[in-house]
């Protein structure tokens, strides 16, 4: 692609955007600095408190190493715990997307369907997923129980964002396709979906947060022996705070990682937009 950038300075500048590499390096440096500052303050605090219930960062690291190499007191490895939580999360989250997006599109396209049924739909939004735990324990077992609870947490943000997004479809964009004789399916694929996709991804990121909250709560009560939430409960009963903090930090780190993956997807998919909302 031979762009004649020199001849078109204004557009070329807009296309190039701000110098990405220099800005990114700076951002990474700032983030590492912030992390260092927090760790330092934590270390100082731990030294001052000198309490087994306020472990220093190094103790956390040691606990992490023990868990990673030797497994926990019940013989489950750290990877079993993480694997169990991530699998449950992904299954429930995938269910949330698989139902939330089509239903959101449908209710967005046929506002009447939503308007006529919202008395059934809306109240469910306000029942926290963890309030379903007793019923989930009765009706489901194994991964189904967790998948159900996480689905409840992920569904509504995705569903609502999709439905609201459909309202953003510009009539003019629809008309562009209609004048060429495009049918409903083509308009759905070529106009509605591209318009709504940013909202879907946004809803997915919100849903991901609720999903993590839900899974830890579910694992705190569930009967299984693996899962990061389970591991946390086991160690809190033993009053072994470093391991509890390891579980907490892993949940945070995994959530962060998943969010970053979605953000990358957004950046790639929506490079046509001015900027990606962070």
């Amino acid at each position: 692609m031979n762009r004649t950038d020199s001849a078109v300075p204004e557009a070329a500048r807009a296309a190039a955007g701000p110098k990405p590499s220099a800005g990114r390096a700076r951002t990474v440096a700032c983030n590492l600095l912030a992390l260092g500052v927090v760790l330092l303050l934590w270390e100082l605090g731990a030294e001052k408190m000198a309490s087994p219930y306020f472990p220093a960062p190094l103790e956390i690291a040691a606990a992490f190493e023990r868990l990673a190499t030797q497994g926990d007191v019940l013989g489950n490895s750290l990877w079993d715990h993480m694997g169990a939580s991530v699998t449950r999360l992904l299954v429930g989250f995938a269910l949330g997307v698989a139902l939330g997006v089509p239903l959101g599109l449908l209710m967005g396209l046929y506002r009447g369907a939503y308007a006529n049924t919202r008395i059934v739909i809306e109240p469910f939004r306000f029942i926290p997923p963890i309030a379903w735990i007793p019923l989930a324990i009765i009706f489901f077992s194994g991964i189904g129980r967790y998948a159900f609870l996480i689905f409840l947490g992920a569904f509504f943000p995705i569903f609502t964002a999709t439905m609201v997004g459909v309202g953003r479809v510009e009539p003019i964009h629809r008309k562009v396709y209609q004048v060429y004789g495009a049918g409903k399916l083509q308009i759905l694929r070529r106009v509605v979906l591209p318009t709504v996709l940013p909202d879907i991804l946004g809803g997915m990121r919100v849903g991901l947060g609720t999903a993590w909250m839900t899974i830890v709560a579910a694992e705190l009560t569930g009967g299984e022996s693996v899962g990061l939430g389970r591991m946390m409960v086991n160690y809190s009963e033993l009053l072994r705070i470093p391991e509890v903090v390891v579980a907490m930090l892993l949940i945070g780190a995994l959530g962060f990682l998943f969010n970053e993956i979605l953000l990358l997807a957004e950046k790639y998919l929506f490079r046509w937009r001015w900027q990606v909302a962070l």
């Binding site: 008309k175 396709y177 060429y180």
Partner: protein, 263 residues
């Protein structure tokens, strides 16, 4: 109106929304490759006329035909250049221009060839990969025009395509559209409320009255192109149309601000 059979477009319709008559006995023909401008006071139903010609709206009485057949956007090739920016923000310039070709399911190799050619014609070479937010308003409208000319449109409809552009850009675009039309012969129906634009561009200028719209005048513009907007013939013709339009606007109950500005 005579009943010549070589007409590209034949319109004979009346349209009403409930009790409210929008069009009354709108009847005209457009020859192949003719450039027809339609003028009228604001709110006289020009956009409704374009919707009927695009096959998006069925008139309550009568019909519009292209090559003798009722208009159906799925079967005929109709292009539409809209008043508002109609580029799709998630497609780059190249894919925006290809929209019509892709709906018509033309082979991808052909699409590439046609888009390459038309990009040259509208002067967007070098901007193929740019997204709409990266180019100016005039360029966006050029993308829309390229899109309209990319398909072998039997009929190109234009709804005040230059109204949101500043004056110099607008004048440049008027020259460009004539240039494109002369290179890629098409039948064009161009709606505007700017009389100067209509007389400058059209082979014919149709003037509509308002509420309900009737054809008030159908004037052939027999001036050589390129037209000199300062020549005596041009100003005379424009003044003649302006008088008509002002009269219509006054009858419609408002002092035509738009036609007055245009003159």
């Amino acid at each position: 109106m005579d009943t010549k059979t070589d007409a590209m477009v034949r319109v004979r319709e009346s349209h009403r929304y409930g009790d409210f008559a929008v069009h009354e006995n709108i009847e005209f023909e457009v020859r192949e490759n003719e450039f027809v401008c339609v003028c009228g006071p604001s709110g006289c139903g020009k956009s409704t006329l374009l919707d009927i010609l695009a096959g998006l709206l069925r008139p309550t009485e009568g019909q519009a035909l292209i090559q003798g057949r009722p208009i159906d956007p799925a079967r005929q090739n109709i292009s539409f250049v809209f008043q508002e920016p109609s580029t799709l923000p998630w497609l780059n310039v190249r894919d925006n221009i290809a929209v019509g070709l892709r709906v018509k399911k033309r082979p991808e190799r052909e699409v590439r060839q046609i888009v390459d050619d038309i990009i040259e014609v509208v002067g967007l070479r070098g901007f193929e990969r740019h997204y709409p937010h990266q180019i100016s308003g005039g360029m966006k409208q050029r993308v829309a025009i390229a899109r309209a000319f990319a398909t072998d449109a039997d009929l190109v409809l234009m709804d005040e395509p230059f109204v949101s552009l500043d004056q110099p850009t607008r004048e440049r675009m008027q020259h460009e559209i004539l240039d494109i039309w002369q290179r890629r012969r098409r039948t064009i129906i161009f709606v505007t409320h700017n009389l100067e634009e209509a007389v400058f561009l059209g082979d014919r200028v149709i003037i509509l009255s308002s509420k309900p719209a009737r054809i008030r005048a159908d004037t052939r513009v027999a001036l050589q192109r390129p037209r000199d907007t300062l020549s005596a013939e041009f100003t005379a013709l424009r003044a003649q149309c302006a008088t008509l339009l002002n009269e219509l606007s006054r009858q419609a109950g408002h002092v035509a601000p738009e036609p007055a500005r245009a003159v």
